[in-house]
């Protein structure tokens, strides 16, 4: 009876983990998404998440019985009007009798959810975990959820685009970027989306002229430079070394993952290039042994809800020096066949089930290193970054996945 306690004592002898008991490597062995659309009127909320989960299980050739725990994420509960919906979704996600966690970190939630799930494997709590994120925006109206009539507060004057557009103007002022850069991003991402069967927007016949001719909604942001409102879900199966060895398809290996948060609004906040984003990327690069992200990373799925955020994040994530990000975009470096492809899937600009958008970035990064991105595959992608952010550009989550297992 007393040996439990003495074990506790002998095991509590050091801070750092010994190499024998260190972190378990984490692999992505199953990925599933719904076809993202404006309104999935044919399914319930449970039916929507189930579809993505079932596809992830099928990809991994696993069954519900193989899943040890479920980690689910989504943006505010008011969007669907269901408080803590994981309670109702437990049955649909095969979670009955299992642990189920629900993450909410604003727009970064899809990425954070995946990272919480990785900890369960890395910390050797579970062998195989299902992680999933979703939004069914057609149940309500996101603008309603974001602008509840809170007394005494100055009403939100301009909608979500109006919140971000002034920061885009600040970026343009700071860098001298020509005002066409945003349209180049939108044109690229919408063309990439045509190669992704799961993308929401499939704008056949898109041209740069059409993007540039679209109405200016929140000057300097045009209609075609904004994201759609989508119903969709994304799921992944994460597993340990033993699980990866049984995987029928090549796994994606986690090389680094991190979250960083800073306050919503504060004196000295840099909305154009928030420090939390820089620190988060630096942490991921350190874990993954990335010395020069521009050279060492093959492609990026980044959270770009408004086109100008591509050059802004290129700088924030260290792919370009400050003020130089727009030059990468303008010179075609971020095109699908460019030197550093960005948002091969079409990105948030083409698909935005809010709570799932971050996880889609993470999953698309994993698809690339598994060589399973189909028509939007980047040839030879070995190391790809997935990126998500949310709140007032304050919550960041990122992971770097590789085709090879981590060496350390």
């Amino acid at each position: 009876m007393s040996d439990t306690k003495s074990n506790a004592l002998s095991n509590a002898s050091g801070n750092a983990l010994s190499s024998a008991t260190g972190k378990e490597p984490v692999a992505v062995v199953g990925i599933g998404q719904t076809k993202h659309v404006a309104a999935r009127r044919d399914v319930s909320i449970a039916g929507l998440v189930r579809e993505a989960a079932q596809r992830a299980l099928a990809d991994a050739e696993l069954t519900w019985a193989d899943i040890d725990a479920v980690v689910i994420g989504k943006a505010p509960d008011f969007f669907e009007g269901v408080m803590m919906p994981e309670l109702y979704l437990a049955d649909a996600l095969g979670a009955v009798g299992k642990p189920m966690l629900r993450v909410h970190t604003a727009g970064s939630v899809g990425g954070s959810t995946a990272l919480v799930a990785t900890n369960l494997v890395a910390g050797r709590v579970h062998g195989t975990v299902l992680t999933l994120a979703y939004e069914k925006q057609s149940e309500s109206n996101a603008m309603w959820g974001l602008s509840l009539p809170i007394p005494f507060q100055q009403p939100l004057l301009a909608g979500a685009g109006g919140f971000f557009a002034p920061h885009v103007r600040a970026y343009m002022r700071r860098t001298g970027a020509p005002d066409t850069v945003g349209s180049l991003v939108a044109y690229k991402d919408r063309r990439n989306a045509l190669k992704n069967p799961y993308a929401h927007l499939h704008e056949h016949g898109i041209t740069l002229e059409k993007v540039q001719a679209s109405p200016m909604l929140w000057d300097p942001i045009r209609y075609s430079e904004t994201c759609p409102s989508s119903d969709g879900a994304c799921a992944m199966v994460l597993t340990d070394r033993a699980g990866a060895a049984r995987s029928p398809r090549p796994p994606a290996w986690l090389h680094g993952g991190a979250m960083r948060s800073e306050p919503t609004l504060f004196a000295g906040k840099d909305f154009v290039s928030p420090r939390a984003g820089k620190d988060c990327a630096a942490d991921v690069y350190r874990q993954a042994g990335i010395a020069d992200p521009r050279r060492d990373i093959d492609a990026v799925e980044m959270y770009v809800p408004f086109s100008w955020y591509e050059p802004m994040w290129l700088e924030n994530l260290g792919f370009a020096d400050e003020g130089e990000g727009w030059k990468l975009t303008e010179s075609g470096v971020t095109e699908l066949d460019g030197d550093l492809p960005v948002n091969m899937s079409g990105g948030v600009l083409s698909t935005n089930p809010i709570g799932a958008s971050g996880m889609i970035r993470f999953a698309e990064a994993a698809l690339q290193v598994r060589g399973q991105a189909g028509e939007h595959q980047v040839d030879g992608a070995r190391r790809v970054l997935g990126h998500a952010y949310g709140g007032g550009s304050q919550f960041f989550s990122m992971w770097l996945v590789g085709a090879a297992p981590p060496t350390s």
Binding site: W64, P151, A158, A170, P215, W218, P220, A267
Partner: protein
């Protein structure tokens, strides 16, 4: 110390819920006065029918008609019905296992005999709503039901009195979605710091708070310095003039926002009030929208209604130099 403000906050929306095939069949059935369950792989019948087996996680969809009569498996007497509940007179909440089902449905039981007339095991039947649209409320409630031989009725397929119509779960014009209105009432209070700020606005003064640690002035104050994590309390009057640090031109009226009565286009700007260490947000007026620029000097135009400035207008001063406000951008 300023007394805190309070005001009602109503959170209300008619959510539009798509159903999927199983829930569609069940709710359409209710419209047609038919109760459907769903059969699991091991032969249990779940009522109400769910899309996924809670035991095996399998997707299920084989619909089975069950009787509109059943047995109370547990109950609770609700002497003070609340808004939105099925009856507005005292009733019993009940879980009812319908004849032919293996699980129980939650609903209300109208028991005129009061709590002493209800017990676990009470036989009940569905009382249909007069107007039925395909919703759980098509069952108005349950009502007590004197059956001559309850034991026979446990299996409706044995020819008991319970009427089955022989539905296969397919209906003309099925219900595919419901509208689920939801209203919650709150009393909102913004707390100490924001109450003080809002009260000062009534006197057309803008009063921020200084962090005792980093000395930054927060406008509006939020009660805490978010970088130091300590309470702010030293009040500092700022402005009223300030500088436009950045802005956008709003060309659309977003639905569900409070800007519906503002004519577009208008300028939505970040304004650093003189003496504040971060910008607040406001609308710029008194100048054509396409002449607003970064560095423009502005002052508040107070609204007759009190509270926040209606908008800000140019002061006529020369523009501020970029270097003077770029840290506030």
């Amino acid at each position: 110390m300023t007394e805190v403000l309070k005001a009602p906050l109503v959170v209300e929306f008619p959510f539009t819920r798509s159903l999927g095939p199983v829930q569609s069949a069940f709710l359409t059935g209710l419209r047609e006065r038919v109760v459907l369950g769903v059969r699991t792989g091991d032969g249990r019948v779940l009522v109400p029918p769910v899309e996924y087996d809670p035991v095996t996680s399998e997707e299920i969809g084989e619909l089975v008609e069950v009787a509109p009569t059943g047995t109370v498996t547990t109950w609770a007497w609700n002497h003070e019905p609340r808004r939105g509940q099925p009856l507005d007179t005292p009733f019993a909440w009940v879980l009812v296992r319908l004849d032919g089902a293996d699980t129980a449905l939650l609903h209300a039981l109208d028991a005129p005999g009061g709590p002493d007339s209800v017990r676990t095991g009470t036989r009940v039947r569905v009382r249909w709503a007069e107007d039925r649209s395909g919703a759980i409320t098509d069952i108005a409630c349950f009502e007590p039901y004197e059956s001559p031989n309850p034991h026979e009725l446990r299996d409706p397929y044995s020819g008991g009195a319970a009427a089955l119509v022989g539905s296969d779960g397919r209906f003309e014009d099925p219900v595919t979605g419901i509208v689920a209105p939801a209203r919650l009432d709150y009393t909102y209070s913004p707390g100490r710091a924001q109450s003080a700020y809002i009260r000062s606005l009534a006197d057309r003064r803008v009063v921020g708070e200084r962090c005792p640690s980093c000395r930054k002035v927060y406008v509006p104050p939020r009660g805490a310095c978010p970088t130091c994590g300590v309470a702010t309390s030293e009040q500092v009057e700022v402005g009223p003039r300030g500088t436009v640090t950045t802005y956008c031109i709003v060309n659309i009226k977003a639905t569900h926002t409070a800007n519906l009565d503002i004519e577009v286009p208008y300028v939505y700007a970040h304004i650093a009030l003189d003496g504040a260490d971060l910008a607040l947000h406001g609308r710029i007026g008194g100048i054509p929208y396409d002449q607003v620029r970064m560095g423009l000097r502005v002052e508040p135009v107070w609204s007759e209604a009190g509270g926040h400035p209606d908008h800000y207008r140019p002061t006529g001063e020369p523009d501020a130099d970029y270097e003077t406000y770029k840290e506030l951008l």
